[in-house]
């Protein structure tokens, strides 16, 4: 379990984190989202005992990081953003060092090494020097180091950067399964990643919590409206934008484009769907059939993380 109480951290007079509090329970994966400089990495560095808080407290399994950093570090597995590795060691030498550092011995040690090597798919590169590894392998070696001692707390700073799509799926699966028994905190830029693996999310902006909750809640709360992208075909030519206002409940037309005299594409905004009510797509489909139009494409567009940030920061200014 991880608990932050009014954590503040400044470097040389500049405050990077302004009073952040949260609790991450065992058996959960917490995602920290935010633009660069939002304070994600700083929070992680405090939780791993690399930095001490300027004020406030950071507790890992009830232990204050500033009071007993070594005890905290024993419980934590950490993958830093820069994925630091010793270039002049081989993969197995590097993991041996990590095993020594964690005080692993005998059978436990052998099993831990095999488990980490297997889980991160490193068995083919054991004898390779770290400097000869590709970015994807380095990332996986960093992760193997972090999970080697089966720590109750895992802190992963952008764990899937540099991986190809197949590896991303594997690593996400691994993190999700680790999250069932551990406390996992990860940072990312990718909203889909949060939706795929996190049980809760904290969005940070300029060192403060801008929003927090379950991934679905955050998405809904921020959306405020549904965006639908459409491609329609009409039987006759001479269709224009005005006819779209016939869609029941439509709020606005974000874009409209005629591809040919009788095929056009548009993006429209619909009010958020209340539970139990008709979904936007259903209403549009019924409208199209009634108006003698054929639906070629109908897509509910997700708000990207960038749009969420824009929304959050704008709301912040409006207050």
């Amino acid at each position: 379990m991880i608990e932050l109480r009014e954590l503040r951290k400044s470097y040389g007079g500049v405050e990077a984190v302004h009073g952040v509090s949260f609790v991450a329970e065992t058996g959960s994966v917490l995602g920290l989202l935010g633009p660069n400089g939002a304070g994600k990495t700083t929070i992680m560095k405090v939780l791993t005992g690399y930095h001490f808080p300027s004020s406030g407290e950071a507790l890992v399994d009830g232990i204050d990081v500033a009071e007993d950093p070594v005890a905290v570090k024993r419980r934590v597995g950490y993958l830093p953003e820069s994925v630091p590795l010793y270039q002049d060691l081989t993969v197995s030498e590097y993991l041996d060092f990590a095993a020594d550092a964690r005080g692993l011995e005998g059978d436990t040690r052998a099993q831990a090494l095999e488990r980490a090597i297997g889980a991160c798919g490193l068995s083919g590169v054991r004898r390779k020097k770290v400097e000869d590894l590709s970015k994807g392998y380095r990332q996986r070696l960093g992760l193997a180091q972090a999970i080697l001692h089966d720590p109750p707390i895992l802190i992963l700073d952008e764990p899937t950067t540099g991986l190809d799509p197949n590896q991303i799926i594997e690593i996400r699966e691994l993190i999700r399964s680790l999250g069932q028994s551990k406390t996992v905190i990860l940072s990312t830029h990718i909203l889909q990643e949060v939706e795929a693996i996190c049980s809760s999310v904290i969005i940070l902006n300029e060192g403060r919590i801008a929003a927090q909750g379950a991934p679905s809640e955050i998405g809904e709360a921020l959306k405020g409206e549904e965006r639908i992208r459409l491609r329609l075909k009409s039987a006759s030519s001479g269709f224009d934008q005005n006819r779209l206002s016939g869609v029941p409940g439509i709020r606005s037309i974000a874009s409209f484009q005629a591809e040919s005299p009788n095929v056009f594409s548009a993006e429209i905004a619909m009010p958020p769907v209340k539970a139990g009510a008709m979904e936007a797509g259903e209403a549009i489909f019924d409208w199209a059939v009634a108006s003698g139009l054929k639906v070629l494409e109908l897509e509910r567009r997700r708000l990207s993380l960038e749009e969420i940030f824009v929304k959050l920061t704008q709301e912040g200014e409006g207050r």
């Binding site: 040389g12 690399y50 300027s54 570090k73 630091p84």
Partner: protein, 240 residues
């Protein structure tokens, strides 16, 4: 202690996986060989006395030791492994001691590899092996103090080059302080105090083959002081 050995072992593995350590040790051996046989005219002097050979050691160390310690912290910082090291369950003191130990082992290997030089020379005359042992013990103590200073400067430096240059300058200053005071003709308490800080001043009796506990104590406390400073600096960094 186990943690200290873990760190030292990792350092040594890295050192011996890269050519730098070999190159530095080899240059040192070649230089000492050339020095004794050519520059000092060992054979021409016709004396079975290695005092000059040992007197030069502190000056040579001002270059050898920084070459061995410059990577220590500066390289970790460049590679980002500094963050790894500080988030593994080690105390700062253990990190500093482990790195000190590995650099000291490298220095000791270099120093002990020079033993054949006086041994070969001893075939030509009769050497006092007790004197030789005292001389080598003194060299090792002097090296320990120099390694601690080099480690401390490396822990402050941003990169290897500034760690090397900084350590060379500091060590040369500490070695040459007693020469400077005698050159300036300074005397009295002022000169004695300055001389007392000199790494070479305390090496004097060793090079004559005399073991003086005051000198041993000086080297040990210098090593302890700079290791403490390095460890203190690492901890302080976390708060800023």
């Amino acid at each position: 202690m186990k943690n200290v050995l873990t760190i030292a072992r990792r350092e040594l593995k890295s050192s011996f996986n890269s050519p730098v350590a070999y190159a530095v040790i080899l240059s040192y051996l070649v230089f000492m060989g050339i020095y004794i046989y050519f520059i000092r005219g060992f054979y021409a002097a016709g004396q079975a006395d290695l005092r000059d050979y040992f007197t030069i050691m502190p000056v040579v160390f001002a270059f050898l030791i920084p070459a061995l310690t410059m990577r220590s912290w500066a390289e970790e910082r460049r590679l980002g492994t500094y963050e790894l090291l500080l988030t593994l369950p080690f105390a700062e003191g253990q990190l500093v001691l482990g790195k000190f130990l590995s650099s000291f082992v490298l220095a000791a290997i270099a120093i002990l590899l020079t033993i054949p030089v006086p041994l070969m020379a001893s075939l030509l005359g009769s050497f006092d092996s007790g004197v030789l042992a005292a001389q080598y013990l003194g060299v090792l103590f002097e090296a320990a103090a120099a390694v601690a200073i080099g480690e401390w400067i490396s822990s402050l430096a941003k990169n290897q080059v500034s760690a090397f240059v900084g350590s060379v300058l500091v060590l040369l200053l500490l070695v040459l302080v007693d020469k400077i005071t005698s050159f300036l003709g300074a005397g009295g308490i002022f000169a004695s105090v300055l001389n007392w800080f000199s790494l070479a001043f305390h090496f004097d009796s060793f090079s004559r083959g005399v073991l003086d506990t005051r000198d041993l104590a000086y080297y040990l406390s210098a090593a302890a002081l700079f290791l403490y400073l390095a460890s203190w600096g690492l901890t302080r960094r976390k708060w800023s």
